[in-house]
């Protein structure tokens, strides 16, 4: 990528897709002519038509309305999980990196144990045991997610801790809290932001996987839940599975495109 002030095309495409899905989620009640759970048994399993651009599901509910409201659930869960895990991971990583010693040793041991566990499996087991609803889904997806940020932040803090400007801040009497929050973290966050973009994509996939398996919220439409219903009617009504999956893929693709561009511009070292 060249630094000519122009944004690379893939990033622009990614940002446009993300923007469109955000608008879809925010304006879901206005954009859809039907309420997502409004049934119409006469139109059950009917394919796309002018009234129902994405067709109707097994109870005649509008698939477009469910996809639009499903975007709300997916984005809400993804933003919650990423926010929680970034806050927890950065806090643990900063403490481990700056304080060192026993705090560091214990924190990194715990991180290693979590890394040894397949993430999606733990999320499935936790969501299965806790029961299917929105907050349990967020918990199940967050339990594993902080680990990557903790490692990343620790490595950054270790590199910055001995810099001269940090020593200068300490010399003029700044306490450890102030040194970390004001002088170290602002310079350590670029890779965390890049990582957060990629893991937002991962959370969307994980969240819809769990909803697909029946472990997501039961009272609101989700992309994964709709896709699971569609999987039972692939022969007669393939549109029910097609559209929610397409939106999952577009969202994940867009986040990956934006993440790639952010990485290239924030972290020049990783450029090919």
């Amino acid at each position: 990528m060249t630094r000519t002030g122009r944004l690379p095309l893939p990033a622009v495409i990614g940002a446009l897709i993300l923007g469109a899905i955000l608008v879809l989620a925010l304006l879901a009640p206005i954009l859809s002519a039907y309420r997502p759970l409004q049934t119409d048994l006469a139109g059950a399993l009917r394919g796309p038509s002018t009234g129902h651009p994405f067709g109707q599901d097994r109870l005649g509910r509008d698939v477009f309305a469910q996809v639009a409201f499903g975007a709300r659930a997916s984005l809400l869960i993804s933003v919650s999980v990423v926010t929680l895990t970034v806050l927890a991971g950065v806090a643990v990583g900063a403490a481990a990196g700056y304080l060192g010693g026993a705090v560091d040793a214990v924190a990194m041991r715990v991180v290693d144990i979590f890394l040894a566990f397949p993430g999606i499996l733990l999320a499935i087991a936790l969501a299965g045991v806790l029961g299917p609803n929105l907050s349990n889904l967020v918990i199940a997806l967050s339990v594993m997610g902080w680990v990557g940020y903790a490692r990343l932040t620790r490595a950054q803090v270790l590199g910055l801790r001995e810099r001269e400007y940090v020593a200068a801040a300490r010399a003029v009497g700044a306490g450890p809290w102030r040194v970390v929050a004001r002088h170290i973290l602002p310079n350590a966050l670029s890779p965390v932001i890049v990582q957060a973009t990629f893991s937002a994509a991962g959370v969307i996939i994980a969240e819809s996987s769990l909803s697909f398996l029946g472990l997501g919220p039961q009272d609101v439409p989700t992309w994964g839940g709709l896709l699971a219903q569609g999987a039972a009617y692939l022969l007669y009504a393939p549109h029910i599975a097609f559209f929610p999956g397409l939106f999952i893929m577009l969202t994940v693709l867009a986040l990956n495109l934006v993440g790639d561009a952010l990485r290239d511009s924030l972290d020049p070292k990783s450029q090919p």
């Binding site: 999606i120 806790l130 990956n256």
Partner: protein, 304 residues
């Protein structure tokens, strides 16, 4: 201490951590797990009986000790749903999962190696661009969507392959393709990057200068060195395949541990849930360990 010995030692806290997490799973059930398992209509006597059977009436420390003791005797408890020892139920499903994961890995390698090498050799040309776009789409596609779309195409429209279940080799094709696609997308990028690193090396120029043909340069000299990092990623990702198999198995009703796990969750058969999570996690830990060890054997530079 040798590298492998030290890694083995580091395995101990990891395995203990996994066991502890699995132990606490049942204790995370909101409310009384016994009531949840038996339903609201269960009699008081049944509740007391099951609680005693599971050892839930004991102090937590004793339960933990019993749990670990049971593991040593290869006893993971009994499944309510199957009325059999948990280990026997999982043992019957494990070969199907292993077969699926191995087939998916084969699919991933068969796609990724040629595409990745070709993309590197034709860097920045159309082939390369297409490979990169394809790999981006591949990693973004959820396997519980790819699976149904493949079913629509190959089972319903073309009628070539069975929809689901495990009957004969044909029934393995779609699940393996579904599970292997995401991994192949990752491996294409890895193989390409690794080949590009190697292609700039002096020894390739030397080989060319000696008059070795371009094909031989790629196949004999470049590939051998480029594949080293790919081996590591394959090993680490194989663990991810095992857990990814949970979803793919459920799409295709493939009778493996993943299908078993979701059945167990639905039936609130918690000993079986614990067993499935334990077995998949331990396989994951073991595969990662073996990858590490294997890497140290292949590449003497990483021996410490």
């Amino acid at each position: 201490m040798s590298g492998i010995g030290r890694r083995l030692l580091l395995l101990v806290p990891t395995v203990l951590g996994v066991l502890t997490l699995v132990f606490f799973l049942v204790h995370l059930i909101p409310g009384d797990p016994v009531e949840v398992m038996l339903g609201e209509t269960a009699s008081g006597a049944d509740l007391v009986q099951l609680r005693a059977d599971l050892g839930l009436d004991r102090p937590l420390a004793e339960q933990y000790a019993r749990f670990l003791g049971g593991l040593v005797r290869a006893d993971l408890g009994r499944s309510f749903f199957y009325r059999k020892p948990v280990l026997a139920v999982i043992g019957a499903a494990l070969p199907a999962t292993a077969l699926l994961a191995a087939a998916a890995l084969a699919v991933a390698l068969l796609i990724a190696l040629p595409v990745g090498i070709l993309a590197a050799v034709r860097r920045n040309r159309l082939t390369d661009r297409l490979a990169l776009v394809g790999s981006l789409v591949g990693v973004s596609m959820p396997n519980f969507w790819l699976g149904p779309m493949l079913i629509i195409l190959f089972s319903f429209r073309l009628g070539w392959l069975p929809v689901s279940g495990r009957e004969g080799a044909a029934s393995l094709v779609l699940p393996a393709l579904t599970l292997g696609t995401a991994l192949s997308a990752i491996l294409v990028r890895m193989t390409r990057a690794s080949m590009l690193d190697v292609l700039g090396e002096d020894y390739l120029r030397t080989a060319r200068a000696k008059g070795v043909g371009e094909r031989t340069v790629i196949a004999r000299h470049a590939l051998r060195n480029a594949l080293l990092p790919v081996v590591t990623i394959v090993g680490l990702q194989f663990g991810a395949l095992l857990s990814g198999a949970v979803i793919t198995e459920n799409v295709f009703a493939w009778p493996g541990v993943g299908t078993l796990l979701i059945q167990a969750i639905t039936a609130r058969d918690y000993p079986l849930v614990q067993g499935c999570v334990l077995v998949i996690s331990l396989c994951y830990v073991a595969v990662n360990f073996l990858t590490d060890a294997l890497y140290a054997v292949i590449d003497p530079r990483v021996r410490t």
